[in-house]
Symmetry: C2
Subunit: 256 residues, 2 copies
């Protein structure tokens, strides 16, 4: 498949490398940042451009790996330069597919790899779910087929489901990371490194293979160990914000 | 070192196997549950007993891997049967070492492997921090030396620090696990499995190798993306308890 990749940030970079590695022909990479476009294009034998007016008309898919805010603007631009009949897909978990309809595109979909990408970390696509959807069955199968070349873990996820998935991901990723921050802050103030807890954190995640989080839950709230809970709340009097988090999550565990 | 292991639950089981594997002589295993004591004792060439009156007097260390509530009772019993001059250590993150002093023991300490153990999951001690303390330097070094035979990751942690560590572990383990439960519940109600988020959860943890949680934080709260936050809160109107958690952790991320 001939692909124009629009965006060379973290998602674009990792997707470009993987598409190329999986034998797809990425014909062109667009980024407003010339060096980024060139750097990625060189790695995957593509051409680079910084102008949406120079986007190739010869591709089967225009893949928009740009910020959520940029999707509407870029897709309007692609329609303006005469690509309204081409298949466009974005890689966003938070943006409805209808953004393309509003821009005047005729064929569109979503190609959303559900992972947090960092420039300096390798992405193991074999473990990344890819959520796919399109406004026609033919284009859905086309995107699904492409996704399956990158990952064995491909799911058809509607716009509505994807917006729910995005909320859930905030709980599982951003919020749990914030709890690690709280734990690390409490430890640092008592001359201990967060490293002490990393094996425990890893095991908590590994245990999800054995049962649901509710089944695997342990600790004072699950045991109803009020003496320990009270001792913890006493300690947290120095950290009133953390005490609030402690109470609300302890109540949550008790009632789940 | 000759060790009497008191308790054959999850912690006792894994510690017993590892001590034996590391060439230590576990001479006896105590559990009130006869089958548990026998089962573990057989695996590690130890004798089994269900009576504290039959505890061997010939050991260098009495290791109490029992519930927090049982430590005071068991240590009193050990003193009663004439072992007050022997070194006793418990494996609890939540219990001060002074519990032994109150029981009348003379030599005591803590030998706390900071991990959540499950019967059916192998424990990789090479990655488990062991927190050690004792009421004399000699016994501290004895316990430290033993711990280093099990793990390269040994720390001297005072009673006070250990109680802080226990609070931090609740945030990092129990509370993050509860967030996975919330994410899974939201997904299940919309016909999606929590499996979709496991690779993301793993990567969130893996990224802690590259920087502090605050540095690695992403998402709408970190970006100050109020439109997305408002959309999420609208969706969470159906789940008022989850909305409270969302608000308090979003505020926490914004102000950290």
């Amino acid at each position: 498949m001939r692909i124009v990749l629009i965006g060379a940030g973290n998602v674009g970079h990792h997707l470009g490398l993987k598409l190329h590695g999986a034998g797809q022909e990425v014909v062109q990479v667009f980024s407003r940042k010339r060096l980024r476009a060139k750097d990625l294009a060189k790695k995957i034998s593509a051409k680079a451009t910084t102008s949406l007016h120079q986007i190739s008309e010869e591709a089967d898919l225009y893949l928009l790996a740009v910020n959520d805010d940029g999707i509407a603007e870029v897709s309007q631009k692609l329609v303006e330069v005469g690509l309204s009949e081409k298949l466009m897909a974005h890689t966003s978990g938070a943006t409805p597919m209808t953004v393309f309809e509003s821009a005047g595109a005729k064929r569109f979909g979503v190609f959303y790899p559900l992972q947090t990408f960092s420039k300096n970390r390798q992405a193991d696509f074999s473990k990344i779910p890819i959520c796919v959807e399109a406004n026609s069955e033919a284009d859905y199968f086309l995107l699904k087929n492409l996704a399956e070349k990158l990952s064995p873990n491909v799911h058809r996820i509607s716009d509505e489901q994807r917006s729910v998935l995005h909320v859930a991901a905030v709980f599982a990723n951003n919020f749990s990371n914030h709890l690690y921050h709280i734990a690390g802050d409490i430890l640092a103030k008592n001359d201990m490194p967060l490293d002490l807890l990393i094996p425990l954190i890893r095991e908590t995640v590994a245990k999800l293979d054995d049962g649901s989080p509710a089944e695997m839950q342990t600790g004072p709230a699950r045991r109803g160990d009020e003496a320990t809970i009270q001792r913890h709340l006493n300690f947290l009097k120095k950290h009133p914000d953390y005490a609030k988090v402690y109470k609300i999550l302890t109540d949550g565990i008790k009632s789940s």
